[in-house]
Symmetry: C2
Subunit: 344 residues, 2 copies
DNA sequence: ATTAGCACTCGCCATCTAAGAGTGCTAACA
DNA sequence: TGTTAGCACTCTTAGATGGCGAGTGCTAAT
């Protein structure tokens, strides 16, 4: 177990290192007013902390740097919430008060604000749509050969697909299809559209609509579960200002990983509810060996539907970042709940 | 005026430098089988070319490097079309044969393919919507307080806005509004929606709909000309592999400029019809001092509606890039014309 | 007009050195 | 016994030095 003094020293080292990005020596720690010990004493403690794996030396005659384990301890036990700063609150309030009613716009804005305030890179995973229900289906003919299907969900989300009208069909036939589908599918959760379409509706449609077979394929693809939830990025450039990314190859690896949004998607959607802090190799991603990721989930009407987070060097202002993410996740939850006003 | 030999040498230098990214010496040029002159002769010519401003020396004992002026001459006079390569055609055909019917998807795909084939960064500016016409307006109530307006254009583009229903209005009132607006606005080009709404429709609406005033603001903002056309990026990471971007600060400046899509938007939408090559400072952008940009416009049914391009170092494979962009712009034009099948 | 020859320039790289920061250890101290 | 002063030692960094090589510009010969 660590002594009170060791904890104090570890904390001081992490705090200083986060600021300076340079190895911390015993002398500079001993100079701090909150640590009344000589460099020699501190050296002893540092050596012990290193033995226990909380600190590392870049090389034998350098100061100490926190290890992943050290950061982990810091995050788990040495973090006390600071009051949220005035201007941070202002920024957020200003943002959420704008009454943005498009979900996509809210997401983008959130990503932008999050990266702005933390000065790390931010990621926001759009709300999962699986359980939203079909509110209304419409088809609008564009030409005699093409029409557009519009799907509105109870959350106000609108999807549309253009499709070709089978040659032998006319507008009246199309209307029949729409009517039957509306009867059948309204209030069906997104996740079950395709299944339900295949199982029940097809029989009915075949009975009532001429040449329905020609349309089947088209319809099926229109009702395919929508593309994976969107990922919104913000402030990727912030990473470039950090000294740990002065090497372009490193940056490239990271950006390439982030470029594949399916990566990000699986990562974020697998994280558990509430706040998550993943330090360095805890991410299990090669390119992220010395990056940390802080994520939080947000919810709509109490149900968790997505998450957001920041990515930065392991040398991160955990306290501040955690505070801001918490705050934003809450704001986002209330904001979205307001948009999706009704019960889900 | 440049002699035939000088042109030959300039061409050789550009070609070699584009490959190697290192200053080219007289010796290596003289070794080329297509140049039967001794290094000394070439040195003389090089000195002349430098005097005329087509070449530069990084330092006094290095080889020569093309200047912006040199690249310009090369692009304007020394570029002969090479046959398009087999696999390039294949890639493009595969892409355009996918019959992607969503415009947005086509744009994204185009950006991806363009950056993939050129291995530079690509930009695609979505089609300008100004002249598309309203095909149909629908409003779908979500709750008693909220509804969603759906605008379909004759190009199959769908826009939707969620809005609050004024307290005193009911669904019947809403229907009336929709009917009147449809009568009035169908076939009106996007650019004139707002104007026409204000001028003619409002009078009518006031007459026939109770409490119309409460709705006015909402409606007006729904018919605001849509957000500026979208910009799609591809292969930003490709830039990082170029040796001229090994400096992170440089990369940051460029990315930050690109991050502001309004920059990109004005730049691209101001470029003239057809193919454009802007070399280095011709871009008039500080961060782009040694970047080149090649853009081309694409059209729908013969009318120019957008553009696409690549960004790379001035040391660029102009020939190849130009060829690919031309090809893609054509492909995009036919593909979009097919989507927007009817006359515009 | 072209080319061979040659002195010269200059960046690059490896080597070296001195300075400085920081450590670990030992012995003295409270 | 816990703390500290002192000191030798280690290792990085920055700057200086010098040879190497690629490339040039000029001159004189072809």
């Amino acid at each position: 177990m660590l002594s009170r003094r060791q904890l104090l020293i570890l904390q001081a080292i992490v705090d200083d290192y986060v600021q300076s990005a340079e190895p911390i020596g015993s002398r500079s720690i001993s100079k701090r007013t909150d640590i009344p010990f000589s460099p020699a004493t501190i050296r002893n403690e540092m050596a012990d902390l290193e033995d226990m794996g909380y600190l590392q030396k870049p090389h034998s005659s350098a100061g100490r740097v926190p290890s992943n384990k050290g950061y982990r301890l810091y995050v788990d036990h040495l973090l006390y919430p600071e009051p949220v700063e005035e201007h941070e609150i202002l920024d957020m309030e200003k943002m959420f008060s704008q009454r943005i009613s498009e979900v996509e716009a809210v997401m983008k804005k959130t990503a932008a604000v999050l990266s702005e305030l933390t000065s790390y890179a931010s990621i926001v995973l759009g709300p999962e749509m699986d359980r939203t229900r079909l509110k209304q289906l419409q088809m609008i003919p564009l030409t005699s050969k093409q029409a557009i299907a519009i799907l509105v969900t109870d959350t106000g989300h609108v999807e549309n697909r253009t499709f070709d009208i089978p040659e032998k069909m006319n507008v009246a036939d199309l209307e029949k299809v729409v009517n039957i589908l509306n009867d059948q599918l309204v209030d069906t959760p997104v996740g079950q559209w395709e299944e339900k379409l295949m199982a029940e509706s097809t029989r009915l449609l075949k009975q009532h609509v001429r040449h329905y077979e020609d349309m089947f394929g088209v319809l099926r693809s229109a009702f395919k579960p929508e593309k994976s939830d969107q990922v919104f990025y913000g402030g990727m450039m912030n990473l470039l200002t950090q000294p740990e990314f002065k090497d372009v190859d490193r940056v490239r690896m990271i950006f390439e990983w982030l470029d594949h949004s399916e990566n990000v998607h699986t990562l974020l959607s697998n994280s558990q509810e509430g706040l998550n802090v993943r330090i360095g190799k805890e991410n299990n991603i090669e390119a992220f060996a010395d990056m940390s990721m802080i994520t939080a989930t947000y919810s709509i009407g109490g149900r968790t539907v997505g998450s957001l987070g920041v990515i930065g060097p392991t040398r991160m202002e955990y306290e501040r970042a955690i505070r801001l993410i918490r705050q934003l996740a809450n704001g986002l939850s209330t904001s979205l709940t307001k948009i999706y006003r009704h019960d889900i």
